[in-house]
Every structure is written in C-alpha cells, then in structure tokens.
C-alpha cells in the first residue's frame, strides 16, 4: 500500500518525537500483525491433528493385520488341490462402530502336508474373482483372461495381470487353518497392502 495514502491523524511536533513515534508505530504494527495471525491460525490449529488422523492411523494399522480362522485343515484335500473358502473376520472396526463376523472376502487354500498356501480370490489385475479350473489345474480370471499356475505365478505372457496371485501369511494351529487376510493394491507389479 502506498505510504502517502495513509491518513495521519496527528502531525509530529518535532523530529525527536517523530522517531520515537515511528518506532512505537512499528512496534504496534508488528505486534498487531502477530496477534492477529495467532487469532486467525488458532481455530484451524486446534483441529489440524483431527484432519490428519486417518493418515496417522493407516501407518499404525499396517502392523495389526489380525489372524483369522478360515477352515479345519482336514477340509483341504491332501493332494494339494485348491479349494475356495469364505473369510469371515471376527471383528471389523469402521471408525466408531465395531461389526462382528463380517464376510470380508474369499481365499483359495491348497495344502502340502501341514503347509498351507493362501491366495486372495481377487485378481491382482482389476479385482475380478478368479476361478480354479480343475481340468487344466490352474487359476483363470474370467474378466480379462489372466491365467495363473498353482503356485500363483502368471503362466500366460498375454495375461494382463502385472503380478501373480496375492499370497497371505498362513499358519496351522490345533488343526485349523488361520490366515492374515489382506487386500492389495491392484494393477501394479509390487504387492502393496491396502491400509
């Protein structure tokens, strides 16, 4: 703003007073700006953390994928033939509500001795449900024709899926198969969990 525009209510009487008046005025202007800025920032500052809360929580949640019981080991055929199982999470928290026994997705489980392999049913390409074809003993996505071998890897070079089927951690405890069920970001080469 142009300095000459400023109306001056009082003419300084002599030079000495002018300088002290100037520094006084400078002090007032700086303090006023500071105080006003503090008042303007305060409301947003008092709640900024609440806006950032989801970002903070997602980094905390990554470590907390729960184990979920899927099926008795006996229900899996010993020859390693995959079978489809529903995954029912015992507890799902959506902000303030906790839902019990929520169907969250499905997995293919295949067994080798006491080792169990789990694949997410969702195609890593764009999330369609993958079928197991017993005739050719492989997995096939009916949407865009991706094919996967029994080990989950992409078998056909023309498959649009950028990576093999998504595996999840499994364990066998007291004759039951448990998995850490997760979803992953679709259509990229790396397997990155959603959280």
């Amino acid at each position: 703003m142009n300095k000459t525009n400023k109306p001056t209510p009082d003419e300084p009487e002599n030079k000495a007073e002018c300088c002290s008046e100037d520094s006084r005025r400078k002090f007032i202007v700086v303090s006023t700006l500071g105080v006003s800025a503090a008042c303007a920032i305060f409301p947003v500052a008092s709640g900024i953390t609440t806006i950032l809360d989801p970002v903070k929580k997602s980094s905390e949640n990554q470590a907390k994928v729960p184990w979920t019981k899927v099926a008795p080991l006996g229900n899996l055929s010993e020859d390693g033939k995959p079978a489809k199982f529903e995954v029912i999470l015992s507890e799902v928290k959506d902000a303030w509500t906790t839902y019990k026994n929520v169907p969250a997705g499905a997995v293919y489980l295949s067994r080798k001795g006491n080792e169990v392999k789990a694949f997410n049913l969702k195609c890593p390409h764009l999330g369609c449900a993958v079928d197991y074809r017993s005739k050719s003993d492989d997995y096939f996505c009916p949407c865009h024709n991706s094919t996967f071998g029994l080990d989950g890897s992409v078998t056909d070079v023309d498959s649009p899926s950028p990576r093999g089927l998504d595996t999840m951690e499994t364990k066998v405890e007291d004759g039951d198969v448990w998995i850490r069920f997760q979803q992953f970001r679709p259509n990229i080469v790396e397997k990155i969990p959603l959280s």
Partner: protein, 578 residues
C-alpha cells in the same frame, strides 16, 4: 507483488475496501471498552472452523451421534482438544455477549440513531443462545437428551401452534434420529447462516454510525488500524488462552453416558440457562416459556426509545443490572439446591460412573451397530447395580445406599451386603452387638433368634477370641476374587475350631451329610451358594420355615437365574467401601 496488487485493485477496488475497513476513525483514541465486538467475531469464527472440523467426524443419528462423539473424544488424534475448544468457546461467547451488551447499555450506544443496530444485537444474542441449546443435544448423551426434552416441552406452551411447533422441532413425538438431524441442521446450517446475515447487518450499521464515544475522550482521535486492532487482538488472545486453559484444565468437554430414555437422569441445562430452569420451579411453564420472555422482549425492544431521556437511560441500565443480578441469583439458587440435594449428587455420580464404564467397555470391546447404549444395558456391572437397586435395596443396603449411590429413605430391615462373606463382613457378623444392629440382623426376627440370644451372646471372652478365626474360615469358603485363599494346613486348623472348640457344626453343616437346624454353610458365600440361596432361602438347606420375609426370587420367578447370577457376581466383585 505490487504489480499483482495493482492488477487486482484495478479489477476489484480492493485497496479502497481495505482502506475503508482499516482506517475507520476512532474518536478519542483506541480503548479497551471497544474490544467486545471483535472478541465475539473471533469467537464465532473459531466456532465455525472448529465446528466444521468436528463435522468431519460427527454422524447425526440415534445410534451414531454419541458413538461418533466418543470417537472424536477418545480415538481421533487431538479430537478431545478440538471438542474442548468448541465447547468452551461457546461458553466464552455467552460471557462476551453479556459484556458487549452491558458496554453498549452503559455507554448509551443503543440510543438513536443506533436503535436498529441494537435490535440486530439482541437478535444475535437470541441466535447465539439457540446455537448453544441445539449444540447441547448433539452428543446425544444423557445430559443433552434429558435437558432437550425439557426445552422442547416448553415449546408446546406456545399458544395454538405450540404442540405442532414441538413436533416440527422434535421431528415427531419421540426423540430419535429426526430430533438429532433437525437439531444438527439448525445448529450447523440455519442458525450460523442467520448469525452471519445478522453480523453483516450489525457491522454495516456500526460502520454507518461509527463508534459511539463514551465521554470524556481520553486521547486524541486515532484509527482502527493499528491501535484499536492491537487492543482487540490482545483481548481475543486472552479469550483464546482462557479457552485453551479451560480445555486443558477439564481435559476437554464432558461426555455423559449415551442417551437412554429408560435410564432416568436429572435434566439440567448448561450453566447459562440454569436461571431459566430455576425460574420454572416458581412460575408455571406458560409464564416461564411465553409470558415472561415476551414481556422482557417487548421491553428490550422499546429500550432505545425509553433511553431517549436521561432518566430512561438510567432505567435501562438499572433494568439490565437487575436482570443480570436476578439471573445470577437464580443460578446460585439452582446450584445450591442441587448441592444440598443428596439424590441429585448421587444421580450425577451414577452418570459419571456410567460414562466411565461405557467408555471402558467401548475401548475394550468396540461399539456394536446397535449403539453404545446397548453396551451399558447389557453390562453386568451396570445391571448388577440396577437389579440390586430395584429388587434388594428396599430391605438390604450396599455401602449404605441402594447399590447405585442413591440413599434410601427407610431404615434397612436386612443385612448390609457390600463385602458380603468377606473376612471383615463376617468378623463383624459374629460380634453380638453388630449381629443385632440394623447393619446386620437388627431389622429381622433373627435378632432374637437362637444364634443371637443363645450362641453369640453367651460366648465367654476366650470363645469370643476364636470368632475371628471362624470368620476367616467361612470367608475362605466364599472364594471371593479380592481375597487370598488360605493354605490347606491353615484351613484344617480353623476347621478344628469350627468343629471342636466352638462346635458350630452342631447347627451349621459344612461338607457333611446331616441336616443341621441352621443354614448349611458348605461353600458359604460362593457364587453357587449365593445363587441357590437367592433362588429359594426357604429351602431346608437354608432358613427353611424360619425364613424371615426374604423372597424366594428364583422359585417365585421374581428374577431369572441370569439376573440372580448377575447380582451375585456384582456383590462378590468388590470389597465394602465403609
């Protein structure tokens, strides 16, 4: 930068606008008495911003309002602080409104030609109070729920359209989803919009007429920028610090237990409405809700004209001082009456207990889709207290009260049950003076029974010294969660006293086949013993025909087995407090 400003100024005229806004003349120089309007603007600005941020996590429905506020308070990062600022700034706003109003009255700034602006101010006062009232309900906790029930019942007092108006505000007859959504629309939409419109008018009119100068003028004239703005800013900073202090001091805004129409709660409004609440104890609701506000409103409306004369001005100032003093007096009465009322204190404590409990369960188990109120309704600790209060407390007491903390008017006619079967409880029971006191069997026929007259009273000093040992033995049978169990050896030693030294076994069986003439003490005070006893005290294992008025709750189906188990678990869970 300058080129950009020139460009902007050419198209918007922003320089003139800023100049007009900042270089408002302040005759007589900047003064502290002019800061209240700016403080109020700052407070409102804070409310709009913090309110919008709260809105990001708030969900207005009967099953999610309390739950989302709980989420903000206990789960969202810094949510408690945000909520605290919104809560205490709302209260600061009321205080600032009163200060602003009184400054305007005392300085005579309400008189011609500023009548219109005075009315705008009064309307702003009304809108702000309405914002407080509607905001009070939004957490959907007991306090907000019951207080709003009273407030909305007052609407029904309006002649002719009252009941219809009430239905419109409540969204029907019952309080529920529609009440919250309507209050929320009022609180976050209609009322703030009205407030902004009124503030724009208020500031326009203020600028049109300029500051009303209180004579004598202390200094030379100056300008709004920067002198007055600095004073305004410092005052706003003080308000801000006070709000931050209150937020930290009270650890954010309170959140009561979730609203439950079946769980009574003493309705109290926020402190600045307490005078109205107290007034309704003295005048009929119609007067309190319609006649008095109308009469006051009319008088306030006329004040700019009354104030035209010097006498009238003094009358106006006196009127507001009286109104404030009256409100303060009524507020004081409301507080002191509540303080003196033991049951009110108990109800507040009970609500605090429930609030803590429900938060504890929510944190441990999460909140089901049916809402947090079901957590409390199904909680065994809460149910235990309530079952005791409604089925046991007419004869028994728990720490001297009804189980929930309420005092009971009648004297107890059966034993105190806090710490039942504990070593302390039994030691006192086996002392004759205690046995026949109202704390134990003083109110029953057993006061004159065999145990009292022929056993306890007759013991010599040596035998009396053995009684605490028997108490210890019996309390061990109860397997109370807060008491360590005895070693096998110690138990056998004590059994010797029970069998031989005092020969209690002659009447009271323990682990024996025979049928004693007094209650069987096998597993005395244990969960099973207590459940069986409450199911049927007239069973020959217990009092048989000697039972004195204790109902057979299970046999006569006054309580289900589950309810009996809940109350037993609750009694057994904690030692006595007195």
């Amino acid at each position: 930068m300058n080129r950009f400003l020139d460009w902007l100024d050419d198209r918007s005229g922003i320089r003139v606008l800023v100049k007009e806004a900042l270089y408002e003349k302040v005759p007589g120089g900047a003064r502290w008495r002019y800061v209240w309007g700016s403080c109020l603007t700052f407070a409102f600005f804070t409310q709009v911003v913090t309110g919008t941020l709260l809105w990001m996590s708030y969900s207005p429905s009967a099953q999610t309002a309390w739950e989302s506020v709980y989420f903000i308070q206990y789960q969202v990062w810094g949510g408690w602080f945000l909520r605290g600022v919104h809560h205490y700034m709302a209260q600061a706003m009321i205080v600032l409104l009163v200060l602003h109003l009184m400054q305007v009255m005392i300085d005579g700034a309400y008189k011609a030609p500023r009548e219109l602006n005075f009315w705008f101010g009064i309307a702003l006062l009304g809108v702000t109070l309405a914002l407080s009232l509607t905001g009070y309900l939004l957490p959907w906790d007991q306090k907000g729920f019951w207080a709003t029930a009273v407030a909305t019942n007052l609407i029904a007092e309006v002649p002719l359209v009252g009941p219809m108006l009430q239905k419109i505000v409540v969204g029907g007859v019952e309080y529920g989803h529609q009440t919250i959504t309507r209050f929320f629309a009022l609180h976050a939409g209609i009322l703030p919009a009205a407030l902004i419109g009124l503030v724009v008018g208020h500031i326009y009119l203020f600028r049109k007429h300029g500051i009303h100068v209180k004579e004598p003028r202390p200094k030379r004239d100056s300008y709004f920028w920067p002198d007055q703005i600095l004073k305004d800013g410092v005052a706003c900073l003080a308000v801000m610090l006070a709000v931050v202090f209150l937020t930290f001091y009270f650890k954010g805004a309170p959140l009561g237990p979730p609203a439950d129409p079946s769980n009574e709660f003493p309705a109290r409004p926020e402190w600045y409405f307490l005078f109205l609440f107290q007034l309704l104890k003295y005048v009929p609701a119609f007067w309190g809700a319609v006649i008095i506000p109308l009469a006051l409103g009319l008088l306030i409306f006329l004040q700019p004209f009354i104030g035209a004369s010097k006498k009238g001005h003094h009358f106006n100032i006196g009127f507001w001082w009286c109104l404030l003093a009256g409100a303060a007096g009524l507020t004081f009465l409301a507080f002191s009456e509540d303080q003196a009322n033991l049951n009110h204190g108990a109800a507040v404590k009970e609500a605090e207990w429930q609030a803590q409990r429900v938060v504890q369960i929510a944190q441990e188990e999460g909140i089901p889709p049916t809402g947090a109120v079901t957590l409390l309704r199904e909680d065994h600790q809460n149910r235990g207290r309530r079952i005791f209060a409604s089925h046991c407390a007419s004869c028994h007491r728990y720490n001297g009260h009804d189980g929930r903390g309420y005092s009971v008017e009648d004297d107890p006619s059966a034993p105190e049950l806090a710490g039942f079967a504990s070593n302390t409880w039994l030691t006192k029971l086996l002392d004759y003076e205690h046995y026949i006191s109202p704390e134990y069997f003083g109110g029953t026929a057993f006061k004159d029974g065999t145990m009292a007259k022929k056993v306890l009273k007759k013991y010599d000093e040596d035998e009396k010294k053995l009684l605490p040992q028997v108490a210890l033995l019996l309390s061990d049978l109860a397997e109370l969660p807060y008491q360590d169990s005895l070693s096998e050896e110690r138990r056998e030693n004590l059994m010797d006293i029970y069998y031989d030294d005092l020969a209690c076994i002659d009447c009271h069986d323990i682990d024996s086949e025979g049928e004693g003439s007094a209650p069987d003490l096998t597993g005395y005070g244990s969960r099973k013993w207590m459940v069986d006893f409450i199911v049927n005290p007239e069973h020959e294992r217990f009092y048989g025909k000697k039972n004195d008025r204790m109902p057979a709750f299970g046999r006569d189906e006054k309580l289900s087995i589950e309810e009996i188990e809940i109350v037993v678990d609750w009694i057994r869970s904690k030692p006595a407090e007195i």
